[in-house]
Assembly symmetry: C2
DNA sequence: CGTCTGCTTGATCAGGGTCAACTCAGGTGG
DNA sequence: CCACCTGAGTTGACCCTGATCAAGCAGACG
């Protein structure tokens, strides 16, 4: 079991968060317990033309503490989750217990979508910090799509966005060098923090080197070495979990190992090539 | 707009059947031009409780010849595609023009989903063989979801399935050795062919070694070498594009190949059960 | 018939995985 | 308060997997 250190906390993860019974009250310490549809859409960064201020649709919040598991692989699916605050990871566990990090959901991200297909979650979600999540019961979700047409579009939108993100991930894993992967990871983190209103120049990693490595298809040693190298070059400053971005542009355009050849070769087919390949060299 | 010769036809797929001729009629050589909702659902391998035999909803087919492009990156999105017959690839093109294969859509697969988010296709789809595709205008798609509830579920289903597939892809690229990737690729192809009613033991690859390599995050040389190695061991037989599966179970459980020194002996003894050999991690 | 593209195979080399030693921070308990 | 422990992180040494470079072959096609 190469599981997480806090597994003791998640000892009772079966206590289904979607129960939504107002009975025990220990999980609403943050005070904010419900969001309306407007807030949800805003959080998801999807445009809403009409006004959903009506209290007709309210969505419950649930809090998790760092280390707790939100859902596990194989658990029956009935709820989607939206991150209101906090940081998480979603992982796949292969046939022999090795975990593969798939994403690091943070404010405005949705997860649990992989459960729709088989009606069971195909991945596991774990809180990396204390989290405030919005529950989006799948039933309610589809109902909403029917009654509010633009919300329906939004949902397709979010799912499509996830798919595009995964595609970009595959592309990165398939083509980029270790340095380029780490660099892009830092850039995307920086941008994410900026979107969330935090500093894009100085932030704290919420995940371990091991988790970063798993996410990027690298070992923790390689991640550590690469960060050190960036630090020496002056691209960033590193102190444990604290990262300072010094030269974002360098990180953004960094690529070692130019995948070579294959260049014009690909366009070959009947050469209707659109491309307009912005060359950088 | 810089598209294929059929772009004019697909630009306006909602028109009634009588228009079908349209002028140049070379694309309806297969005779089958329209499918109803039942056929579409069956093709997508999603259960349908009710009966959609009504001719109310008909979906136009379009044929493409090998090498033709169905859509390109950046092209305005308005249509999803379902493969009725034939083989395709979808590719991402990075900033330097290198192509990364994302999937090999075949009968029953849907593609174009990545266009929903930004209203532009984020990938390019190319026919690897002559293809018969079903057009699913996104407008019609969402309308259907509203009027036929189980169809709506089905659509979420298909999108979720795609996402799960991508996740598995990421996991594979991040964790598996070259041999394991090629082995799994062959297994999944075999299973796909079985589903489609073809032989799972003997089939033809529709894609080049280069495309396989791109899909798996490997070079074409590595793919070629790995296939040759599998051939020597007796897992498969290879002759150019023709693949014969000899030991599916070995391929399925393979993680790492024994060193080439030991490999020669194994091959000599026709040893077949050495499959799940040395494991690391 | 020559050319082109796809495929195979060999030789070489380096990126990054593996193993190991060590430091550091935080938590625990005497 | 300090000794101790544990897990995260850093760094070095080594070496293996798979990329790169290169040569040769076969089938398709104008």
């Amino acid at each position: 079991m190469t599981l997480i250190q806090h597994s003791d906390l998640s000892a009772n993860p079966d206590q289904n968060p979607s129960v939504a019974s107002g009975g025990d009250g220990n999980w609403h310490r943050q005070g904010k317990l419900w969001s309306n549809l407007n807030e949800v859409c805003e959080l998801l960064r999807i445009p809403t033309t009409s006004n959903f201020d009506d209290e007709e649709f309210l969505f419950q919040h649930v809090q998790f503490k760092a280390g707790q598991r939100i859902h596990t692989i194989g658990q029956p699916f009935d709820t989607l989750f939206i991150v209101h605050s906090g940081f998480l990871k979603t992982v796949l566990i292969d046939e022999f217990g090795n975990e593969q990090v798939l994403s690091f959901p943070m404010k405005g991200d949705m997860f649990g979508v992989d459960g729709i297909h088989t009606k069971r979650y195909m991945s596991e979600a774990v809180a990396l910090s204390n989290c405030d999540l919005i529950l989006l019961p799948f039933k309610k979700f589809t109902q909403l799509g029917r009654s509010h047409i633009e919300f329906e579009h939004s949902m397709y939108n979010v799912m499509s966005r996830e798919l595009v993100r995964e595609q970009a991930m595959v592309s990165m894993m398939g083509a980029l060098s270790a340095e380029a992967r780490v660099a892009r990871f830092l850039v995307s983190l920086s941008e994410r923090f900026a979107e969330m209103g935090y500093s894009s120049k100085l932030f704290n990693l919420r995940m371990t080197r091991h988790e970063i490595g798993s996410y990027l298809g690298l070992t923790l040693e390689t991640v550590s070495r690469t960060l050190s190298a960036f630090n020496e070059i002056g691209f960033i400053s590193v102190d444990q979990r604290s990262i300072g971005i010094k030269d974002l542009d360098a990180l953004r355009t960094l690529r070692r190992l130019p995948p070579s050849s294959a260049r014009a070769k690909a366009a070959g087919r009947r050469a209707k090539s659109v491309a307009a390949a912005s060359v950088h060299q």
